[in-house]
Amino acid sequence: MKSYVRFLTFTLVLPILIFTVLLLVPDVTYSAITGVCSTCHTMHNSFQGQPMAKYSNGTSKPTPNPVLLITDCIGCHSGPVGDKSTYGAPIVYHTSNPGGTGPGKTLAGGDFYWVAQSGGDRKGHNVAGLANQDTLLGFTPPGWDPNATAGTKHVVAPSGWTQQLTCYGTYGCHGWSDGINYGLKGHHSNLSGALTSSDIGNASSVGASYRFLLGIWGYESSDWQWNATSATHNEYYGVNGNTNYSNKHTISYLCAECHGVFHSQTGGSSPWFRHPTDIVLPGTGEYANYNNGSGYSLASPVARPAIGSSSSSTVTPGDASTSNGAIVMCLSCHRAHGSEYDSILRWEYSNATQAGCKVCHTSK
C-alpha cells in the first residue's frame, strides 16, 4: 500500500504540484524600477497637438528627448525640497537652498544647488545645463590623465575635453560612454542592493552598476541616504593598492577616469605627494581610532574591500579584505555632485577643527 502511495505521489501529485507552482510564477523578469510608463515617457512628443517634452526647468520643449523621455536628467532629478521629484526620482539638484548636505537635507551625492549659484564653481561639478563652464578650469578637469586609467570608457578621444561635463556619456559620469545618449539607458535594467557583477566593457552593465556608474561596484542604500545613519547607508567599493588601476570597479577608479593624476602620482607610500586613495586605512596609530571608535562616519565614510548584502556600522581599520574593512576613497572627503564647501568637500577644510580630516587623523 505504501509503495502505491509513493508511486502516486511521484507520478501524479508531484508533477501537478510543480506544474501549479510554475503557472503561478510569472514568465517575465521585471526591472527594479516600477511605475506608470507615461510618468516618464511620451511616445510621439504630442498631446492634443502640443509637445509633451519639457526642458529641465519644466517649460515646454518643442523637440523630443532621446529614449522618448518627457524630460532630461536634470528635469527628472531636480525639485525644490525633499528627497524625490514629482517624477519620483531622487533629487540631486534642489532648486531651493537645502541648507547643507547630509541626511534630511540632500542625498548621498550632495547637491548641485551651490555650483548652480553665481560664483559657485568650486562647490560642485559644473555639469552642462546646471552650471556654466568653470571659469578657471575650462572644460578639462583638474588632474586629467587618460593614461592613469587604461581602458577607461570616459573621454577616450585623443582630442581631449572639447565640451562641458555632462551627467552621462563620454564626457559624463553615469552610463555608457560609447555614444553619449546611451548613458540614459539603464533605469529599466537597474539592479539594487549589493552590486558586484558589472563590467566596464559592457553597456548592459549600466543597470547592474552602482548608481549607473559603469563597472563600479557597491551597495545602494534604497533611500539614497536621505535617512542615513551609521548603520544604514551606501557602501562604496575600494581595494588596498590600486595605483595602476588594474581593478576597475572601485569608486576611486571612477574618479580617476577624469582626475588620474590625483591617483597615479601619489608617491606610493609615505611621505605622500598627494593624498592616497584605494589604500587601507591603517589599523595602527591615530587611524585605529577612526571616528573615535564610533563606527561608520557619514561625514568621512570609508570604502569596503568587500561588498556585503547590507550596510554596516562597523569599521575595522587595517582590515583590507572584509565588508567591515576600511579603504580610503575620494568620497571619504568629497561629495560626488556638489556641496556647500569649496572643492566639493564634505566639510569646511579651512576650519577642520570638528569632524572632517580628523575622523581619520584623530590625533592631528
Binding site: 521585471y30 516600477t34 510608463c37 497637438g49 532621446p66 522618448l68 539607458k185
Partner: protein, 362 residues
C-alpha cells in the same frame, strides 16, 4: 467535335466577371431618389453621389446593437454601434459619440473626429493641422474636413488634388473590391484594389473584419525601410498631381501621410535611442522583445510580406511595429485611440499587456 466542346464550355462560363458585392442593386442605390414622391435616401433628404441611398455612416455607422448589420442580404461592417460583444478591428466611433462609454473624460481623444459624426463631435483641440503634421495644410482647418473618405479622409482615392470627399471618393470600390490577400501591383489601381480601400495599402483582409484571437485577424503590411528610413521627401506622401498616396504600401506609411513627424527619420531617429516611438521597424529578436512569439490581437504586428492567411506566430527579427500595434484606426475606448489604457501600464509590475507585450521586461 472540338468546336462543339468549345461552345459548351463558353455556355457554362459566365458571360462577364461579376462584382465582388453581389446583391440587389436596389439595396444600395436609388435611381432618382424618389419613391412615390418621397426621398429614398437614409438619414438625409438630399440625393447622394453614385446614386447611393446612404452616406458612409448610413451604411457603416447605423448605431445599432450589432457590429455587423444587414442591408437586405448584405452583411455590412459597423464602425459605429453599441454591440456589447466587442468592436471590429478598426474600433468604434461610438466611443466618441458616447453611445459606448470610454475610459476618460474627453471623448474627442478616443478617435478620429470625422465630420460625418456631426458638428457636435468636431475636434476642438489642435490647430488647423493634424498632430504630427510635417507641414501646414495651407491654412485649411482639417478639423472641418476630416472625412471617412477622400482628399482629407482615409479611404478612397485621393491621389489628385481636389479629389472628392466622402462616398464619391470610393467610386467603384465596393464593386471591384478584392479580399483576402491584398497585394496589387503598383499604386495606380482604383481604391477597391487596396486594403480596406486605403489607396496604396497592402495587407490581408479577414473576411469578418474582426481581430478575434491569435489565429483570426487581419494582417497588416509593414516594412523595415519605409517610412522612417526614407527621410523627408515629398514623394513619401504625395503624388506629382498634388494628391496624397502611401507610396510604400505599409499601413504606417499611410498614417504618416497625415502624421508625418511621428514617422520620418529626422523627427523619430533611425536607431535607439529613439526620439519618438518608431514604426515600420523590425521588432528585435534580442532581449525582452524576443519573447513576443504568439500573435496578440490587442498588440498586432506588421509583416514584411503580404500573407495569404493569418498567422498566430510572431517572429521577432522579422515582423515589424506598426501604428496599429498601439492605436485603433477609427476610435477606441482609451485616450489617444490607444488599444489599452496607457496611464495604467506600469513598469516593474503588473501583467504582460499593452506596452509590455513587446517591452516584456520593463
Amino acid at each position: 467535335m472540338w468546336l462543339w466542346l468549345l461552345v459548351m464550355i463558353l455556355l457554362v462560363l459566365p458571360l462577364r466577371v461579376h462584382a465582388i458585392t453581389s446583391s440587389l442593386c436596389s439595396n444600395c442605390h436609388t435611381m432618382h431618389n424618389s419613391f412615390q414622391g418621397s426621398s429614398m435616401t437614409n438619414g438625409t433628404s438630399s440625393a447622394q453621389p453614385l446614386l447611393l441611398k446612404y452616406t458612409c455612416l448610413g451604411c457603416h455607422g447605423m448605431g445599432g446593437s450589432q457590429k455587423i448589420a444587414y442591408i437586405g442580404d448584405i452583411p455590412v461592417p459597423q464602425v459605429l454601434h453599441t454591440d456589447p460583444s466587442g468592436d471590429l478591428a478598426g474600433g468604434n466611433f461610438a466611443y466618441i459619440t458616447g453611445a459606448k462609454q470610454g475610459n476618460g473624460t474627453n471623448p474627442n481623444r478616443f478617435g478620429h473626429n470625422v465630420i460625418e459624426l456631426g458638428e457636435a463631435f468636431r475636434e476642438t483641440a489642435f490647430g488647423n493641422d493634424p498632430p504630427g503634421h510635417v507641414h501646414s495644410f495651407y491654412g485649411v482647418d482639417v478639423r472641418k474636413y476630416l472625412s471617412c473618405a477622400g482628399y482629407m479622409g482615409c479611404h478612397g482615392d485621393k491621389r489628385y488634388y481636389d479629389a472628392p470627399q466622402g462616398t464619391a471618393a470610393i467610386k467603384g470600390a465596393h464593386h471591384n473590391n478584392l479580399n483576402g490577400k491584398i497585394d496589387p501591383p503598383g499604386t495606380a489601381n482604383p481604391p477597391g484594389y487596396y486594403y480596406r480601400f486605403l489607396q496604396g495599402v497592402k495587407g490581408y483582409e479577414i473576411s469578418d473584419w474582426q481581430n478575434l484571437d491569435s489565429t483570426h485577424h487581419n494582417e497588416y503590411y509593414g516594412s523595415t525601410s519605409a517610412p522612417v528610413n526614407y527621410g523627408s521627401f515629398c514623394e513619401n506622401c504625395h503624388t506629382s498631381s498634388g494628391g496624397v498616396l502611401a507610396r510604400y504600401g505599409t499601413i504606417s506609411n499611410f498614417c504618416a501621410t497625415c502624421h508625418g513627424n511621428f514617422h520620418q527619420q529626422s523627427t523619430v531617429g533611425t536607431s535607439s535611442p529613439w526620439l519618438r516611438h518608431p514604426t515600420d521597424v523590425v521588432i528585435p529578436n534580442t532581449g525582452e522583445f524576443g519573447n513576443y512569439t504568439v500573435y496578440d490581437p490587442s498588440v498586432p504586428v506588421g509583416r514584411t510580406y503580404v500573407p495569404s492567411s493569418p498567422s498566430s506566430t510572431v517572429t521577432p527579427g522579422q515582423d515589424v511595429v506598426t501604428c496599429l500595434s498601439c492605436h485603433y484606426a477609427h476610435a477606441g475606448p482609451y485616450p489617444s485611440m490607444l488599444r489599452w489604457n496607457y496611464s495604467n501600464v506600469e513598469a516593474g509590475r503588473g501583467s504582460v499587456s499593452g506596452c509590455k507585450v513587446c517591452h516584456r521586461n520593463k
